[in-house]
């Protein structure tokens, strides 16, 4: 390594970085800790950090009140399928933008992003009417479609920027060998773009998981995901910090764990073409 650094410097870096990291993480840590407290301990002054009577009561209460696994399953299906379908539609589009660019490529890309700027609540009523007509209310199919469309611009953009970094000569070579276009995409391009596709999948899975407007307003009992689960805990009567924390922990734990395990993949492709 060209840049040599002293152990002292490294220690200082470590100390600062860890302090900031813990500071940023603290609200989540505090929520998780609070979820194991009694309601009285949750608001105690001075605050209790670790030395309180740990209890699982809040989780028991939350589980008894609502069928967590059903919400979880809906979240997984809706976020997963919408992302997957989005990527399948986006790959050919991103391919053609990256390798057969035209004068309008940039405009099309920006136009796609601009569709995300429509304020959702302004079109709630029209959307609700459309969903009634199509019989899609409270179905996972309906939500998969909506979330796919919401995230499609981001997916196309991420993939486009990633594809652009792949040297065109390789594709040329494949074409010389007589590979057809679909073959070229499936056998040559896709394997090379795996890291980019992986991080696109991950980022959009997170975005879909956390989408709280459509998932709340277009569902009732059957298709409701974890965002609806949280909406039944957001302001219950009386002391509620501990129960709220337990519900919150349950809502974010799956995505947090998934995110942590896959953060390397997430980071690798999260460049949006910002890196040359």
């Amino acid at each position: 390594m060209a840049r040599s650094i002293t152990a002292r410097r490294k220690t200082i870096n470590t100390a600062i970085a860890w302090s900031i990291g813990l500071l940023i993480f603290f609200p989540i840590l505090w929520t998780i800790l609070t979820s194991f407290k009694s309601e009285a301990d949750a608001i105690a002054f001075p605050p209790k950090f670790l030395f309180f009577d740990w209890t699982l009561e809040n989780y028991a209460v939350v589980q008894e009140r609502s069928d967590y696994t059903r919400y979880l399953w809906n979240s997984i299906i809706i976020a997963g399928l919408s992302t997957l379908i989005g990527v399948i539609i986006a790959i050919p589009a991103a391919w053609s933008m990256a390798f057969v660019p035209s004068r309008h490529t940039k405009d099309i890309l920006l136009w796609m992003l601009s569709t995300k700027m429509l304020p959702a609540v302004g079109v709630l009523y029209p959307m609700y009417l459309i969903f009634i007509k199509l019989g899609l209310l409270d179905t996972r199919t309906g939500l998969v479609m909506v979330l796919m469309l919401i995230n499609l611009p981001i997916i196309v953009w991420m993939l486009y920027t990633y594809f652009k970094e792949i040297p065109g000569e390789i594709l040329e070579a494949a074409r010389m060998d007589g590979a057809s276009l679909p073959k070229e995409i499936i056998y040559v391009l896709t394997p090379m773009a795996v890291p980019g596709i992986a991080s696109t999948l991950l980022l959009n899975f997170i975005l879909a998981w956390n989408e709280a407007f459509w998932t709340l307003n277009l569902t009732a009992a059957k298709a409701a995901p974890l965002t609806a689960f949280i909406a039944s805990y957001s302001s219950p009567e009386g002391l509620f910090y501990a129960k709220l924390s337990a519900a919150s922990t349950m809502a974010i734990a799956p995505i947090l764990i998934m995110g942590w395990f896959s953060q390397k993949q997430l980071v690798r492709g999260l460049t949006f073409g910002a890196v040359k």
């Binding site: 609700y128 009634i132 307003n217 219950p236 009386g238």
Partner: protein
């Protein structure tokens, strides 16, 4: 499993054969209040009785309101039963969006429903929603702090007494606030409290020509009094406190008095959650000697949207959940203090229930509210802490935001009222009044 429940289940298993052919799954949207959550936990008893199963959609009050309103106006048909209040029921009933509930069975004894509740949940004499529980508002106060302040709470206090007592009970050093009231923006939060309070000050929302009245001296007096008292004796940040925040403060012993929903009485006297459970007294909501008290009237009620295919199953659920039988079931399992209050006369005739400390005051409060004549001067609208017209929720939310900003000291009371008047005038003109 106890012997009784086992026989019950056994009996139901047999009757389930006959009911099985009609067994349906109904979807119910409800609010996440304690009594409704308790109702959910008894769903099995309903299923055992009728064979019908229930899917619950439990949401926080504001989210619930936006969900069910969107669904009923767009005719989405997502729910077989909706939990709605006294504000929505007459408006929806008038539009023909709800199934009339005039034909409930004789066992159900609809005549037993408190007239104030039945009246507020009807349109043109037809009942459109059955009350699950009803409430008014009243003073809940700390008997120990009142004694320490050298005062005695009258059964029917005046606002001047409340203000004086609040000042005496306040001890900033120990974080004891003389009085806690809702200041939070939202028509169902701070909006409800200030509107009910304004009635006792002689104010009104609209005159007989539907002209907004925020430019009146009565409204100025109301807001000035409220802000003055809360600044003297209220908790910090009261402009963001709603029902839950205040309940939590009171349970922690940080409020001397709290004027809010009568249903809160069972929470503040419940030793499991409340540190002051054995030191709570009750009194009627205060007045100013003008003939109107500052208590409101509300019911959370179950209604069936017109257009559902499962009217019969939905009716059977409503008959079960708002019945005397359900009250007995909860009383047997969790004690009389935890039954849903305020809906039925028979509950208040029950000697067992009369032993509950807040029973009488709750009934007296409910009986003293009159949605048809809520104000000192005549008004064209029905409703105590609201006006049952479609435009009200929107206007009152905007107005309550202006009031909250005044409570927080970000604008003067005059400015807030002037803006409120402008907002209300504009909205009423837009609606064609």
């Amino acid at each position: 499993m106890t012997f009784t429940t086992r026989t019950l289940m056994g009996a139901c298993a047999i009757s389930a054969f006959s009911a099985a052919a009609f067994a349906e799954t109904i979807t119910i949207a409800t609010v996440n209040n304690g009594d409704m959550i308790r109702m959910q936990s008894y769903t099995d008893a309903f299923t055992a009785k009728t064979g019908h199963t229930v899917e619950w959609v439990t949401l926080e009050e504001n989210v619930l309101r936006q969900r069910v309103t969107t669904d009923i106006t767009a005719k989405g048909g997502q729910f077989d039963i909706m939990t709605i209040g006294m504000y929505e029921t007459p408006i929806w009933g008038k539009n023909g969006w709800l199934v009339p509930l005039n034909d409930l069975s004789a066992d159900y004894d609809a005549a037993d429903i408190l007239p104030a509740m039945a009246g507020g949940l009807s349109y043109d004499g037809t009942l459109f929603a059955a009350p699950f529980y009803g409430e008014s508002s009243m003073v809940m106060y700390r008997t120990d702090l009142m004694e320490k302040a050298g005062l005695t709470m009258p059964e029917a206090p005046t606002w001047d007494f409340i203000r004086e007592a609040a000042a005496k009970m306040t001890d900033r050093a120990t974080e004891t606030n003389g009085i806690c009231l809702r200041g939070k923006a939202g028509w169902g939060e701070g909006g409800a409290v200030i509107t009910a309070m304004s009635n006792s000050f002689g104010a009104r929302w609209f005159d007989m020509d539907w002209k907004p009245q925020f430019d009146s001296a009565e409204w100025a007096n109301t807001i000035t009094f409220f802000k003055g008292m809360m600044d003297e004796s209220g908790p910090t940040g009261y402009a963001t406190n709603g029902f839950n925040e205040n309940l939590s403060l009171f349970q922690q012993g940080k409020c001397g008095m709290w004027i809010d929903a009568t249903v809160a009485a069972s929470f503040v006297t419940n030793a499991k959650d409340s540190t002051v459970a054995d030191k709570v007294g009750f009194a009627l909501a205060p007045d100013n000697g003008l003939g109107k008290r500052s208590n409101w009237l509300w019911a959370w009620a179950l209604a069936i949207p017109a257009g559902t295919q499962k009217v019969d199953a939905a009716k059977s659920f409503i008959e079960w959940a708002t019945s005397k039988e359900y009250i007995d079931l909860v009383a047997a399992k969790e004690g009389w203090a935890n039954v849903p209050p305020g809906a039925r006369q028979s509950l208040y005739d029950n000697p067992e229930y009369q032993k509950v400390p807040f029973a009488k005051m709750t009934l007296d409060s409910i009986l003293s509210a009159n949605p048809n004549e809520p104000t000192v001067q005549p008004v064209p609208y029905v409703g105590v802490q609201f006006a049952a017209i479609p435009e009200f929720a929107g206007i009152a939310t905007d107005v309550s935001q202006e009031f909250a900003a005044a409570y927080a000291g970000q604008q003067t009371v005059e400015e807030a009222l002037a803006k409120a008047q402008a907002i209300a005038t504009d909205a009423m003109e837009a609606a064609g009044y």
